[in-house]
Amino acid sequence: MTVIVNPAGPPAAPPAETTRATLRRNFWRGVWRVLRRKPSRMAGVVIVVLFALMGVAGPLLYPAQLPRDDNALYAPPSLAHPFGTDFEGTDVLALVITGARYVLLTGLATAVITVALGTVIGLFAGFHRGRWDTVLMRLTDMNLAIPGLPLLLVLSTVWKFESPLEMGLVLGVLGWGGIARAVRSQTLSLRERGFIEAARGLGLPTRHIVGRELLPSMAPYIAMNMLIAVTGAVYAQVGLFFLGVLPFESNNWGVMLNLAVFNGGALTTPAALPYLMAPLIAILLLTLGIVLIVDAMDEIFNPRLREE
């Protein structure tokens, strides 16, 4: 019985290396197709790319010490100063752009750390179950029970968080619990699926099963969590700076908010309003951009939705 069910088709498959390259190319082509499917996604991409550029190149556009203009304190928006100026006469837009790097770096570092810790711990607990599961989940419970803000307030008295990476590290170590929980439950349900059982029956190593079979199936989920973790981290650190519990070492959106409200009286004086609005709009836009992209994750990582 060697009925060839579908004789029509491309000739025999090329060697493994080229197929892998083809797969990668097809993947990115698919990503592009998915993003183009909805204008909102493209808008999200444009926004996030703009912010990324701001973070990378922003500080290079301006001198290390932003120029002040004593004659234009809290100047209203104008062509020269689209968002007006601050209490020292510095251009608000310049402050937002140069302040982006710290905020974004923190967000990114936090996201990477929460997702890495959460995924590894969740996968391990869910895949091995038993004693490991119990120990890791109690750890997770503890992590979830840590009151983040008070702890940060205490920490900030001894630690100055000069580098955004330090900030990200702290936020990340505090925030992985939720992802670990979710990844564990996903792992528990996935490991009962036929293809995982088949891989075990074939005697494939655990490394392969976890890395090649389980992880890709959870990729959309992990990617979504990562993006959302970025927004969470942005809120958290901006909040800390706004509260003024951290020293103002550099330009930062949170610092701007703090100064606008507590020094400029933006809540009562209209003159300082643009100073307050600019960082707020930046945060809103960044969140919006990320949320618009999150919508595409399911389709990007599911070959069926990607190809169609």
């Binding site: 009925v3 069910v5 579908n6 169609e308």
Partner: protein, 347 residues
């Protein structure tokens, strides 16, 4: 509207089973490649008081056809053309809003595919029954519960106990019976069963099929059974319609269609059924694979790629359904009765 105080049996005997006439029904689905027909130009008449089985593989459009009977095709699907006339109700496809909602359940009962999953796991069966009654303005819930209990007892179950149960406390065969009860308790006269025996064990399947047949006769129903399983239909139905690629390719009395299949697909399908008797060497699978929406040919016969009787004309012309001696066949090679073919060849 029937009063719920009369026993359903008495009510049923007084009433004539309604006929159902599906005419030129076309249902399209919106896909990235444009609107593609899942059901195309289907004519099907369900004679009053009969059980018609619709048999088809995946992608044959049988479930879409069943949903059309309730005018319940969901986007991205759309009923593009045709009519579904039910005696005493008119064209279902013109019903809208409240009228449509009322017709579902009251006039047309639907037993969903895998009824084992269509029950609410958080509510007892009795609670779901009362919800159903409320949504159809049943005036006497007591009578409704009594009817439900009678129906369940008729199907060999302890009605009171079942109504107090949650879905997970019932076996697959019991859930299927509960599904049938919910479809019939409002005295629907037309009943659609979508894959009523899928995922059931053989003995349970036989029981369910027997119950369908008996309840059908006692309540004078017009029943449509949708399934992929020729055997299930053969056991229960009077008429058999075979669907392939969105078309009804053969339709007729079940014994005749099985005993003397005319369409090449029907023949191939029968030959491909694993059976207890018969020569093993004559049995064989159909070559190729069932079509999907995307792989359906735009013109010509839908079955030609797997057909052993394929001719040139099959590439270009869609064979029309020809009815002769109570049998309908849509095939260039075998569909036309001999005398007609002869006459045409003379011309």
């Amino acid at each position: 509207m029937t009063a719920h105080t009369a026993t359903p049996h008495a009510a049923a005997r007084d009433m004539e089973a309604p006929g159902v006439r599906i005419r030129d029904l076309t249902v399209v689905y919106k896909t990235p490649a444009g609107e593609l027909p899942a059901v195309r130009g289907v004519d099907l008449t369900l004679a009053p008081g009969t059980i018609t089985g619709v048999v088809g593989e995946s992608g044959s459009g049988k479930s879409t056809l069943a949903l059309s009977l309730l005018n319940a095709v969901q986007p991205p699907g759309r009923i593009a053309a045709g009519s579904v006339e039910i005696d005493g109700l008119g064209d279902v496809l013109t019903l809208r809003g409240e009228d449509l909602r009322r017709a579902r359940g009251r006039e047309v009962g639907y037993v969903f595919q895998a009824a084992q999953n269509s029950l609410n796991p958080l509510k007892t069966i009795g609670k779901q029954l009362l919800d159903l009654g409320r949504s159809h303005d049943v005036e006497d819930p007591r009578a409704l519960v009594r009817d439900a209990r009678d129906l369940l007892a008729r199907m060999g179950m302890d009605g009171a106990r079942v109504l107090d149960s949650y879905q997970h406390e019932l076996s697959g065969g019991m859930r299927q019976r509960v599904g049938i009860m919910l479809a019939l308790v409002l005295n629907a006269k037309v009943v659609v069963l979508d894959e009523p025996t899928t995922a059931l064990d053989m003995i349970t399947q036989a029981t369910i099929l027997r119950i369908i047949r008996e309840v059908h006769e006692e309540r004078a129903l017009t029943t449509l059974v949708i399934t992929h399983d020729v055997g299930a239909v053969a056991e229960v139905a009077d008429d058999l319609a075979v669907m392939y690629g969105g078309r009804v390719v053969e339709h007729g009395p079940v014994t005749e269609v099985l005993g003397d299949a005319r369409h090449p697909y029907t023949r191939g399908l029968i030959r491909a059924i694993p059976r207890l008797t018969g020569d093993l060497s004559l049995a064989r699978a159909l070559p190729g694979r069932p079509p999907t929406l995307g792989t359906l040919p735009a013109q010509g016969c839908v079955f030609r790629e797997r057909c052993e009787r394929r001719m040139d004309i099959c590439e270009t012309d869609d064979p029309a359904a020809v009815t002769h001696d109570g049998r309908t066949v849509a095939c260039h090679a075998t569909g036309r009765p001999l005398e007609l073919v002869g006459r045409e060849e003379l011309v």
